[in-house]
Every structure is written in C-alpha cells, then in structure tokens.
C-alpha cells in the first residue's frame, strides 16, 4: 500500500470514528463515493485504453450518482412499452431463442443435406446463405457468375432450385430466413411458389426475407436496382404479406453488415433504426395503415466483442423503436412498438491466427446476445476467416448456444442486468448517441440523399480505419494477432472446399430447365411483369406468375431492370 493510499484510508477512518462518537446515524462505516474517488486518486491504472471497442470512454466505477434524474419508466418491464427489458413478458422462460445457423453452399441438393443435418442436431430454424450470383440477381449460367457459383452460398436460379433446397422440409413447420436483398422480391416469390408445390399456402409460411436494401447501399453492397424502385418493391412485399402471408416477416432491418463493414455500436444502432423508420415512412406514404405492416418488421443486429456495450445496444434499440413508432409514427398496436431481433456473433472479430480461440470469442458474444434479449441467434464457426465452415466447426458453434441456453443459467431470469448502474447508463448513452445521429441524417435530407452523397459509406469507412490503426499501433490487443502470438499462428485446420464441378452441374441443370419449360408462358409472364413495373401495381403477384412458369432469376431481374435501371455506387475510399 502506498503512503498516499494509507493516509487517505486513515483520514476516512478518523472521520467514521468522529461520526460514531457524535452518535450519528452514519456511524457504521459507510463508504461514500467521495471516499472512493479520493482513494482511487492514490492508485495507479494499468496501461490500457479503457474504452469500448467503439471508442467510448468507460469510467472505472458507476454508482447511483450516474443514475440521478433517470426515469424509471425508461426501463419498465419486459413485454411492456418501451420494451427495454425485452419484447415479450416472459422471454426465455416461455421459449428459448431460436438457434438459427446461417448455411448454404454448392447446389440446392448439397445444402438440403446440410439443413437436414442441422435440424437433426437440434437446430430450430433455417437460414439460407445464397451464393454471390444469386445475391446479385445473376443466374448460375450468366457470364458474370463464372467462378462464383455455389462458392459462398447456395446457387438458386429458379423455382426448380428452390424446390430442391427444401425437399423433405415442411415449410409450414420450419421457419426459414433468407439473406437476400437486391433481388429479394424474386427469391421470396420462388419461396412462396416452392411452398405451394408442397401444398403449403402462403398463409402458413413462417420466416423472414432480409430485404433491407438501404443497408446494402450503405454497407453490404449486394444491390440490383436504384433506391426508389428498390424501395417500391419492398413496400409491395409489406402490402402483399400483410394480406396473404401474415406469419412472414417481409424484412429484417439489419445492422449486422453496417457493423461488420466498420461502424461503431452507436452508428450501427442509429443507421439501422433510421433505416427502419424510413421503411415505415415509405409504407405510410403508400397509404398503408402503419399497424397493418409494422408488427411484421424484424431486425438483425451484430454482437461484437464489447460485452456490456452490445447488451446495452440491444436494450436501447428496443426503446428507441418503441418510442419512435408510438410517438412519431402514431402506431397504436403494441405489436408495432415491439422490436424483435435476430443476432449474429461478429464475423469480423474472428481471427485467422490461432483460429480455435474464435470458439471463445463466439461464446462471449453469444452470451451478450442472450443477455441483450435476442429472439434468435447465429453463432459463427471458428474457421470462417479461412473458408466456409466445416460440419464439425458448425456443430461446435451450435453446441455453444446449447451450452449457453441449458447450462449457464442466463436463460433463467429476464434481463438480469437491468438496474445495473453501468448497463443502464450505457443504454441511455447509446440512445442519446443514436438520436444525435438521426439529427445528422435529417440534415443530409434523409437516408436516400445520405446514401447518394456517400455519407454513410464514408462514416463507416472512417470508423473501420480508426479501428485498424488502433490494432496496428498496439493500442487494442487482439489475442494471437498483435499480442500473445506464438510464431506460427496459422494452424492447418480442415476447411470446406467447393468442387469446381458444382458450377458445371448447376450450369447443366439450367440448360435442362430452359429446354423443358414452357417458353411461351415464360415470355408472356415476363412481358406482363415489365408492363406492371411501369405502372404502380403490386409486383408480387406478377413475379409469382413468372416464378411458377420457371422463369429464371436473371430473366425476372432483367424484366424489371429494363424499366428500373441499375444502381451505380459513388466510388471513394
């Protein structure tokens, strides 16, 4: 103990003694915050940044003083406005989060086998990863697809592929999430048509299409059409689903990609929610009743390394959404106020160096997701910085969730960190930051002008650069990368390889499809779609007709693109 520290303690002890002698009520030794501060000033601090991953300064201690003037109604109770403590009253006491591993590779048959494997191992929902050609609206046999067919996800170019993808998987029982954006309306129609083939009506399908084009322009970059026609397609899906597929989420408003591209927690929170409000405004502008579609809007957040900040982010997201929907957009149905979210551990935190350490990173992130109250979760596999995950790596990632759910005890009580001086302070700070960023976006003229000016893209790139500098300067330790290295970090671990024959098989199956379908029906449905694209009618029924006729993804895309044009990004770095 240092001399200064000893002196401070001595003085505090003497004060307590004087109080005791005077018969004061505070006679019991009760440390005061001032005492702690005085004591703290005598003690050295470790050489570490003491900021969150996003660069937010963190105090050494939070006390009731940090909560002075806080409104207890801002915390509330789970299942009640403003939903800070959770969207549902009983949360994991009634139902655990859905364990939903994102998967897809090679052909529809290959991925179908992986889905059956995952369902057999206790996974409770499916999540489709499409290959890059599909994400960009190209058929497997399009020249732009060369070398990319089935490599990073499954290749789906028509209803025939979608039928094979879900063969033997009842679409009225298993909920299916599809990560698809630019051509989402087309893949959604393939899905609806595939369900029809199984005898499952649209009314019965459950699941989600990501369908969040705004974050594509901002961060993920799998776009097809320019913003205005793209937003029209999204609102078409809102309207169609609210009438015909009431259990389906026509959008998953996603912060994940924004964060992975480099954004801070506050930027992820603000951009995502502001995008969400943009979709709401578009729906209202179409003349839809906000309560007819808002209850089916869902969200998707990243869960990064900073444990408490991530928990606070999910809590703040629910509160901002609830307040905005009720107060700004006049939603009356509590279902419209309730933010439901999927979460995924942060792929960007995985390291190629000492890759097995990723299991531990994923486990902490998964715990933050559960403590933040997510409705479903994907846990990344340890080998994803090297290639697509192997079955073994995926199994460990899924087991991580099962251990969390069944062994750790975190699912026993709802929002256990509520009332924590630190977590509540962080939740408030994140909400405040988000509102400030909303004001900046409004100054730009809104989300679409911000995208066109490259503002979001630049904000994200600047944050990414700051993080890179911190790591390279050694200011932030990444175990196995810039500290605790072992010399030879790149362990040879087994990786999944996609056989180039997959592309040849897929291309051959496209040729076979084109030969056997009714060409006249394809042409007439496509022509009707082009015509409808010029009008204001809802495009879903038209695209469904094309899908049923086995028109391909690119043919349908092209039929719309001839009217809508394509998106050109503002290039900068």
């Amino acid at each position: 103990m240092s001399t200064r520290e000893r002196k401070v303690l001595q003085r505090q002890k003497e004060r307590e003694a004087r109080l005791r002698d005077a018969g004061s009520e505070q006679a019991t030794p009760a440390a005061r915050v001032e005492d702690w501060q005085e004591l703290r000033s005598t003690l050295p601090e470790r050489d570490a940044p003491f900021t969150t991953v996003s660069g937010r300064p963190v105090e050494p201690l939070y006390t009731e003083r940090d909560r002075a003037g806080a409104d207890p109604a801002a915390i509330g109770l789970p299942g009640f406005f403003p939903f800070t403590r959770g969207p549902y009253a009983t949360m994991y006491r009634t139902r655990l989060w859905t364990m939903r591993q994102f998967a897809g590779f090679a052909t529809a048959q290959d991925t179908n086998a992986r889905y059956k494997y995952l369902l057999d191992h206790g996974q409770t929902g499916l999540s489709v990863a499409f290959d890059f050609p599909t994400l960009m609206g190209f058929d497997s046999d399009h020249p732009r697809s060369l070398g990319e067919v089935g490599v990073c996800g499954v290749a789906i170019s028509s209803l025939a592929d979608m039928e094979r993808l879900f063969e033997g998987i009842p679409l009225d029982q298993v909920s299916v999430s599809m990560t698809i954006n630019g051509p989402a309306i087309i893949l959604f129609c393939f899905f609806v048509a595939a369900a029809e083939k199984q005898g499952v009506a649209a009314e019965a399908i459950r699941g989600t299409a990501q369908n969040d084009i705004l974050k594509e322009y901002q961060a993920q970059h799998a776009w097809v059409f320019p913003p205005e026609p793209a937003l029209r397609c999204i609102v078409d899906m809102f309207a169609w689903c609210s009438e015909h597929a009431p259990k389906y989420n026509p959008i998953s408003i996603s912060g994940y990609h924004i964060r992975e591209a480099g954004a801070t927690a506050a930027q992820e929170l603000a951009f995502t929610l502001r995008n969400g409000f943009e979709y709401v405004e578009r729906g209202i502008a179409r003349g839809l009743d906000v309560d007819s579609f808002a209850p089916r809007l869902s969200f998707f957040f990243d869960v990064h390394n900073d444990f408490f900040e991530e928990i606070a982010k999910l809590r703040a997201a629910r509160r901002i959404w609830a307040r905005g929907m009720r107060e700004r957009y006049g939603a009356k149905d509590p279902e419209s106020w309730r933010l439901r979210t999927h979460a995924q551990t942060a792929g960007v935190t995985l390291t190629a160096q000492q890759a097995e350490n990723n299991i531990v990173r994923v486990a902490y992130q998964a715990m933050a997701a559960a403590l933040g109250g997510t409705q479903s979760l994907h846990t990344n596999s340890m080998d994803e910085t090297l290639a697509l995950p192997t079955e073994k790596a995926v199994r460990i990632a899924l087991r991580t969730q099962q251990i969390l759910a069944h062994e750790s005890g975190v699912a026993n009580t709802i929002d256990p960190l509520a009332g924590s001086y630190f977590v509540e302070t962080l939740t408030d700070q994140l909400e405040k930051d988000a509102l400030e960023i909303f004001a900046e976006i409004d100054e730009l003229g809104g989300v679409v002008p911000g995208i066109e000016q490259g503002w979001f893209q630049q904000q994200i790139a600047m944050s990414a650069m700051r993080q890179q500098r911190e790591v390279e300067a050694g200011e932030r330790v990444i175990v196995g990368v810039n500290d605790f290295t072992e010399g030879s970090e790149n362990i040879e671990i087994e990786t999944l390889r996609i056989d180039p024959a997959v592309e040849r098989r897929q291309v051959a199956s496209m040729a076979e499809l084109r030969a056997r379908r009714d060409a006249a029906r394809v042409q007439s449905t496509l022509a009707a779609l082009t015509e409808a694209s010029r009008s204001r009618e809802n495009l879903v029924p038209r695209i469904l007709e094309c899908a049923r006729a086995y028109a391909t993804l690119y043919e349908i895309r092209h039929a719309m693109e001839s009217v809508f044009g394509s998106y050109k990004e503002p290039v900068f770095f």
């Binding site: 970059h221 480099g262 910085t385 697509l388 990444i478």
Partner: protein, 148 residues
C-alpha cells in the same frame, strides 16, 4: 506523376508508386479494400480504387489506362482461383506483365501457395498489418527499378 516523396538513398527523387486497388467479382465486402487503399495513400502511394463488382477485363483496362505499377485485388468470395489467374492472363495479353499482381482476402494457405507458384505476387490473409503489405510493395518496387 512527377510529384515526389522525398529523395531516395541516392538523393534522386523517387516517383510515387502507382497502385490500383481492385474488387473483382460479385463480392461486396469492401472494408479491407478501402482500409488498404487509405493505408497505401497514407504511405505516399498514388492510389486508384476501382469500386465494386469489377470484371477481370475492367480491372486490366483500368490498370493499363492508369499505367499502374501494382494491381492489388481484394477477394473474399472464394473465387480467387478463377479471378487471380484471369487477371494475370489479361495483364500479360495487354503487355502489362511488368505489373505486380498482389492482393488479399479469405484465401486458404494451399491456394495462396498455388497462386504464388504460378507467378502471382504475395497474398495477404486476415489480420495482416497494412504496414506488411506496404513494405512488400516498396521492396518489390525498389527491386524492379533496379532491374530496369
């Protein structure tokens, strides 16, 4: 370019190294490409960034038009075994095989070795400090200047 970045060891002004940072294929993951482009610029290189979704033909046309020393491709899509050889081939056809073709991304070690064996420059994986790539390009450039 005639601008200089200070004298070389001999006191003769060195010309700036010109680098095309390229994103081939349909992959939209540009975080790495943008970070490395900024780091190259901060290191004093002349940097041209292609933007996303470029075909090998578009990349080689840009490389020739901009008269670059280096093409640095970022590939996270798994299509590296198609894209690197294709760009290499097209560079040679365009008479630009003096250009260093290098890059990075999610590329398994085995593929890195195979591509390097066919004459592609060094390929950098996740977690590589930007300074490593900068030093590599500087060394290559110094050696190629001496050779010519």
């Amino acid at each position: 370019m005639t601008s200089t970045i200070g004298g070389g060891a001999s006191g003769v002004p060195e010309r700036k190294i010109r680098v095309l940072v390229a994103k081939p294929g349909l992959d939209g993951h540009d975080r790495g490409a943008k970070v490395i482009a900024s780091a190259f610029r901060d290191a004093g290189f002349e940097v041209i960034y292609t933007g996303l979704h470029q075909t090998p033909e578009m990349i080689v046309a840009a490389a020739v038009q901009e008269d670059v020393d280096v093409v640095a491709m970022s590939v996270l899509s798994g299509a590296h075994m198609t894209l690197f050889p294709r760009v290499q081939e097209l560079l040679a056809q365009a008479g630009a095989d003096h250009v260093l073709l290098t890059g990075g991304g999610i590329i398994p070690e085995e593929d890195v070795r195979a591509l390097e064996a066919r004459g592609v420059g060094k390929l950098f994986g996740p977690g590589t400090p930007t300074t490593t790539a900068i030093a590599y390009i500087r060394d290559w450039f110094a050696a190629s200047q001496k050779a010519s």
